[in-house]
């Protein structure tokens, strides 16, 4: 704990760029990985294997993957309640994520976080926090930490259209602007916050317009196009690393499923809208682009098959894993384990 030098606790390795070589196939793979993970997650939730609520990312894959592919693996990333896709996009291993969904001790959070908190610090994912908007100040803070430590990292925050109405958004963006922090604020505007359409929660159409209030440059990007997202984020990352300060990006996207399952009555009749968006499915669109670019269908199909196996492997791992012991409930409140109350310790020991 002593020492007078800055000692970043996390991510001491990978300080140079480690973006995969064949980016296009990797982007495809990660999007498919998210889609497959979500498909399985929904199925096992419906079967009663996953406790708690489930908010899926299906339909928004291009945003998560396009953004994360533009980051270094040691860059910081903060997500929200709808964040199965974010750590996967950032390169997280699937086994600990799936085990977390089942509340197992091998989960990325030892089973203590669950679906709304699939944070994987080993890939720079610092927190998938389920209080709407609450990740934004944290992401600004990680950017401040990066700046103070001069480690050249940037911090990217995913949040929804609904979150942009929280005070935390305002305060986090303003701080980042005043302190010229290396931060990218990426709003995934999927048209709704639970049942409330964007038009019901703000009198503007584009959340990107909010950048002006802080002197933060902003842009709108097609959230279904993984290349477009990557390009926009890469530009923002370059500016951030060069000391140019934060950027606000708005990705226009869509979630196919209801807001969540097991979180109240959230079924909403969105009419034919869903089908319109499905025509611009990010994976289908990207697949077409890759085929057009000369990639063989067999290559893509093979990736899909590999990913399916990967997800099945993760599921098997999760199922085989043990639940945490009761003692675990008292760990990680503080760095030192809490004393166990007398009435419980008898049962445990």
């Amino acid at each position: 704990m002593a020492g007078t030098l800055w000692r970043p606790i996390l991510f001491t390795e990978n300080a140079v760029s480690d973006r995969p070589n064949d980016l296009s196939l990797e982007k495809f793979r990660r999007m498919v990985r998210i889609r497959e993970f979500e498909t399985v997650a929904e199925a096992i939730h419906a079967a009663g294997e996953v406790p708690g609520a489930l908010h899926t990312y299906t339909g928004q894959e291009a945003t998560g993957v396009g953004a994360c592919i533009a980051l270094r693996s040691d860059d910081y990333m903060v997500g929200n309640h709808r964040s199965h896709g974010h750590p996967i996009a950032k390169g997280a291993k699937l086994r600990p994520l799936m085990a977390e969904l089942l509340g197992k001790v091998t989960g990325v959070c030892k089973g203590k976080g669950g679906s709304m908190h699939l944070s994987d610090f080993s890939v720079g994912s610092l927190g998938e926090t389920s209080i709407v908007g609450s990740g934004i100040p944290v992401a600004a803070g990680a950017a401040l930490g990066a700046k103070l430590q001069r480690n050249g990292r940037v911090s990217l925050c995913f949040f929804g259209d609904g979150a942009s109405n929280e005070g935390a958004f305002h305060e986090g963006l303003n701080l980042a602007a005043v302190w010229k922090l290396p931060a990218i604020f990426l709003c995934e505007n999927n048209g709704y916050a639970v049942s409330t359409p964007v038009s019901g929660s703000m009198a503007i159409v584009n959340i990107a317009d909010r950048g002006r209030a802080y002197g933060i440059p902003s842009a709108i990007v097609d959230g279904q196009d993984v290349d477009a997202v990557e390009e926009a984020v890469a530009a923002a990352v370059d500016r951030a690393r060069a000391g140019g300060g934060p950027t606000l990006l708005e990705s226009k996207t869509y979630r196919y499923a209801d807001h969540a399952v097991n979180m109240g009555r959230l079924t909403l009749n969105r009419g034919p809208e869903v089908e319109v968006w499905r025509k611009r499915d990010p994976i289908l669109m990207y697949r077409a682009r890759l085929l057009e670019g000369g990639i063989a269908a067999s290559v893509l199909n093979a990736i899909v098959e590999e990913v399916k196996l990967e997800v099945q492997d993760a599921l098997a791992f999760a199922r085989e894993s043990a639940y945490p012991s009761q003692l675990e409930a008292f760990d990680d409140v503080f760095v030192e384990r809490l004393p166990i109350p007398a009435w419980l310790s008898e049962d445990i020991i």
Binding site: T129, G167, G264, P341
Partner: protein
């Protein structure tokens, strides 16, 4: 009288009061879509002006409820889950609790803030809060924690009619409990009056919110062991029916406080302290607390449930107090 759930009781209370008084309106996130089922059909009944979906900005709309109340409206604010009160603490404490006082009585804040206690079901630490004791430390807020449909209906109606701000904490573990609900539109239960949910002579169990049903089950078991437990439900924490609690403890000479919240600085601790201060002479043993362990609530169903008060823990505490050997634990599990 018609059989109805706790959630339905909330709906009826709101509906009846909105019918009765056009100054009452309701707002919150996704209340038109009716997330937990307490506003079914309200937009059709009362129009979009009195049933307002809000942006996700708790501090903003809870604060707006204060402003609207100050000028004569009577807002009900549905905050869905109690964890979402934290972003709004400033408006709740600095504005809602204090405005009447700080302006020397010029302001009146007839508003109700409702939210549920969403614990025990793998919602993880950020969604499992039971923060009523925090608000008990702040003067100026009335606080109700009804534990059954009848109390809920009668007290929520009174809360809506009250001219002071009232926080209503709705225990999600009680959501589906059923009872015969009075249909009299003036069926009212005053705030500040506790209820003896079961009479007894050996030990007083003062239980809060979702702990009341547990205490009642424990009383049944204890009866089998020859112990007569009196179950007291304060129903409102501010004002608190001290007299009822102290009277019971003076009768039985023994007290256990039960609270689904974290133990430290809980409502249970407050009630225990009050008993230790004002009924000490009557006490025949320590004042025991059965509350949630002071750790966060984990997601994993394997380790969440055992952290809360349980029928067993109440039974064990009562046996210890009354000096009865603990009943066979093999039989004892519920």
């Amino acid at each position: 009288m018609a059989r109805a759930t706790y959630l339905e009781a909330i709906r009826q209370a709101q509906m009846e009061e909105m019918q009765r008084d056009s100054r009452v309106f309701i707002m919150g996130e996704d209340i038109i879509c009716n997330v937990f089922g307490t506003t079914t059909g309200f937009v059709d009944m009362f129009g979009a002006e009195r049933v307002l979906d809000t942006p996700i900005s708790e501090n903003g709309f809870i604060g707006a409820s204060a402003g609207a109340a100050m000028v004569g409206a009577r807002p009900i604010v549905d905050v869905t889950i109690s964890s979402f009160l934290y972003p709004a603490m400033d408006q709740i404490i600095s504005i809602i609790a204090k405005s009447r006082y700080i302006y020397g009585g010029q302001a009146r804040l007839p508003l109700v803030i409702r939210c549920c206690l969403f614990y025990g079901n793998s919602n993880a630490a950020q969604h499992s809060d039971r923060p009523y004791s925090m608000f008990m430390n702040v003067p100026g807020l009335k606080i109700i924690v009804p534990s059954d449909p009848v109390d809920m209906k009668g007290m929520l109606k009174v809360a809506i009619r009250d001219d002071d701000p009232v926080l209503c904490f709705e225990d999600s573990t009680c959501w589906s409990s059923k009872a015969d609900l009075p249909t009299d539109p003036d069926f009212l239960i005053p705030l500040g009056k506790g209820d003896v949910k079961r009479e007894g002579t050996d030990v007083s169990v003062i239980a809060v919110a979702g702990a009341v049903p547990l205490a009642l089950k424990a009383a049944q078991k204890l009866a089998g062991l020859g112990i007569s437990a009196e179950i007291i439900d304060p129903r409102s924490l501010v004002p608190l029916d001290r007299d009822l609690i102290l009277k019971s403890v003076r009768k039985t000479g023994r007290a256990i406080t039960v609270d689904p919240a974290h133990q430290t600085c809980s409502a249970a601790s407050e009630i225990s302290a009050m008993i230790a201060e004002f009924a000490f002479d009557a006490l025949r043993g320590p004042v025991l607390r059965v509350a949630t362990a002071d750790t966060h609530l984990p997601f994993s169903p394997a380790i969440e449930k055992s952290l809360y008060p349980s029928v067993d823990r109440i039974v064990t505490a009562a046996c210890r107090l009354v000096g009865v050997e603990h009943f066979d634990s093999a039989q004892g599990t519920v």
